[in-house]
Symmetry: C2
């Protein structure tokens, strides 16, 4: 691996420059006005793959945002690794909280600050650069395929169809994803699963217009009050979710599994200090790591209604809205939970208001076994570069396509993430540490070698 390391060392600065160029493209999949940026970003990813040594590199259009494909086939007898990632990013707002422009990446204190720095441009790009290094130094021991999509942050609505239609092209022995976090550089870890997602929007409509809150207040149901009551009713005093049937298919972790989880380093004082909160919160009877790992949750992602401007306005709003999502664990079904949520909000609507609910997107929970060849290859690779065994942990986030990947391609997924939970994913001032970026590029070739050897 000496040649590889020399190559990485010699090209560090260029790798970073190339990543920064990618981060300058505002590829926000959720906002229709960014559709042209999505196309530009897809082309840039395709060109990066081509330059790194991929063949068949191309941008594939979909009814939504394009998918980028590329491959480097070395020998049919060797195992194949499919790298999945996404070039789309979350909306950047609230913009006023960014210390520098979300699409004007800057390096501060050894960290890249930009929307997508960690999630996921900075992470999938490690694989592109690792490919380049392996090809350039004659060190690619596997066949490698790339599937980099542009709709992960909106629930991958067009990827499933693409995967089903292109099973032969995507045929692989493992799917490798760097779109998760590890505990820290001192405590490397590998996610053994991701949570599923159900995401709905609730619209409560009361009177057909905003009303004077003096003339009508007290005599007409206020949609904001009603929505608040509905949201409040979704958790009980122990912060368990009260929606009937919600927990029906949850697989409870065994005491042994929970004991293993408890061994992962976690400092509640540091956790609270980092977030400036005076206490953690959540379902009674579970630790913080369990609450984000093995338990399903229900969160308000956004709420609005009535007058939200400067000063005061004495109005009884006509409408109130909320974006609400659940994170799911095995064996909850996203489709079923979405239906449960929608039915529940419709059912608890009181007289005097009308409640409309619609679905945003979802994804199934996914678990990967730690005794698989794929997981063990990732663990060995990280041991080589970090000098210690990675800790298996359950990730709290979601990657909607995982379960479909396994079903359609018949292979396991391994989550070799190099981000940190504190990287401000989906938040202002998203960042990615340069050390993690370079450590990832260094680790990935080890994965390919380990996976090819076994």
């Amino acid at each position: 691996m000496h040649a590889l390391n020399s190559y990485l060392e010699a090209h560090r600065d260029r790798f970073l420059e190339e990543l920064l160029a990618l981060l300058r493209i505002p590829s926000v999949s959720a906002r229709s006005e960014h559709a042209p940026d999505m196309a530009i970003c897809a082309e840039a990813v395709c060109e990066a793959l081509r330059k790194a040594g991929a063949t068949q590199a191309r941008v594939i259009t979909t009814p939504g945002h394009p998918i980028v494909y590329g491959e480097r086939m070395t020998d049919p007898s060797r195992p194949t690794v499919l790298v999945y990632g996404h070039y789309d990013v979350q909306p950047a707002d609230p913009l006023e909280l960014w210390e520098s422009g979300p699409f004007e990446p800057v390096i501060r204190d050894g960290k890249i600050y930009a929307r997508g720095a960690c999630d996921d441009k900075g992470q999938f790009f490690m694989h592109v650069k690792a490919l380049e290094a392996m090809v350039a130094t004659g060190n690619l021991p596997t066949n490698i395929k790339f599937c980099i999509e542009g709709e992960e942050e909106v629930g991958s609505p067009n990827l499933a169809h693409f995967v089903r239609e292109n099973r032969a092209m995507l045929k692989t022995d493992v799917i490798l994803i760097s779109d998760t976090a590890m505990i820290s550089m001192e405590h490397p870890s590998i996610d053994t699963g991701v949570r599923g997602l159900s995401y709905i929007e609730v619209v409560v409509t009361g009177p057909n217009r905003d009303l004077h809150s003096g003339v009508y207040g007290g005599a007409v149901a206020n949609p904001a009050t009603i929505l608040a009551r509905m949201i409040a009713s979704c958790h009980d005093a122990e912060n368990r979710i009260t929606i009937p049937g919600f927990y029906d298919n949850v697989v409870e972790s065994t005491p042994e599994e929970r004991q293993l989880m408890a061994a992962a380093p976690f400092d509640e004082v540091d956790f609270c200090r980092d977030l400036s909160i005076d206490a953690v919160w959540g379902e009674k009877g579970y630790t913080t790591n369990e609450r984000t790992g093995i338990r399903p949750t229900l969160e308000v992602n956004g709420i609005w209604g009535g007058y939200t401007g400067e000063g005061s306005k004495t109005v009884l709003p006509s409408k109130a809205h909320a974006k609400i999502s659940a994170r799911l664990v095995p064996n909850q079904s996203s489709k079923r939970i979405t239906q449960l949520l929608m039915d529940h909000f419709r059912k608890i609507a009181p007289a005097g208001v009308q409640v409309d609910v619609f679905e945003h997107h979802g994804g199934e929970p996914y678990l990967t076994p730690i005794d698989s060849k794929a997981y063990q290859s990732a663990a060995r690779a990280m041991r080589k570069t970090f000098g210690k065994d990675p800790i298996p942990v359950r990730g709290g986030g979601s990657i909607p396509i995982c379960s479909l990947f396994e079903q359609e391609l018949g292979c396991k997924i391994v989550f070799m993430g190099f981000g940190l939970d504190s990287d401000n994913l989906h938040s202002p001032n998203e960042k990615y540490d340069l050390a993690n970026f370079y450590k990832g590029i260094e680790t990935i070739p080890h994965f390919h070698r380990c996976f090819a050897e076994e």
Copy 2:
């Protein structure tokens, strides 16, 4: 009164044109960017008073928006009437729901559509035109003073000081206000009181930044969820307000008073149809008219937090906000209830979030006796122009300065309003019927005559 009526008839169109010009000035007191418009509007009101025959007409600066004063003194031995009104208006948003520009008044179906058409430009302007007609035809039987302020919609923060400092100038025998509604042209009515107001804003802060709802969801208190719970907890299952001490000083109406109220025409089917709601709502044990008249209420005027844009964003918001106001009845004190509300929201804040509460503005409830000379003059005036006795009713809105007026000037207030509850006050498509505008101008001189005679 023949000369008066002829004058009114001859100048109808010009009166309307002058009102439309006033409505074109976007005098939104709550928005600092409209401060120049406020000054322009005050000058326009002053000029209108001068042209109508007022002397001493002037714009008086305050630390906030200016107050316009004018008077027409005929004879010290005659009674004096002080007309109070306001040239400021509520913010116009949501703009997209207006069928024509809020500051581009148009006449549709015999109604003036514009922000402020009824509340209160269209109403105080009736008094300006009535003055003009009475002066022009030698029919002014009283002394008349005008105090038209620019901060009614933001709680009159500078008027109290002005009144205290200018007691001699404002000395009067009655205060006449047209800033309320009547039941309908077929059922003229006079408000015997207005409700008080306490208005606060609550800010719930959780983590110091928006968080990824997968990575942190379930383990950190979500400010939007917490705010929803706090709001939900403010009413019980019978829609009574649960804040300790809230009802302490409420004067319960007697069965006789409630019987009288029940005699006022009210059609629940029409009420619901007009608002497109399938049921009324409110405190158990009270009718709709009682809920808006004799009972205090608590309403969410605005709520916001997290992602409110297009599509979805899986974020756990750092902050959530609500604007919340209570309408008060005798003998609740605005100051005390505001303090109760602020203390309550601070007290019920759970660990894991920080709750900040601040005060917007308030005003005391006010009742006027129907056996007063002032009230009886208004009733007689309306009988003359409507051909029937007006019904005394309790108004749901608030005019913050009333209680201070009575205290400082030592006289009663009479609410001779010509608007309708359905005029979309504070809402998109605010309107004022031309028939009501002209009927008001016709009725006002009768008030002056009746008040001078007795």
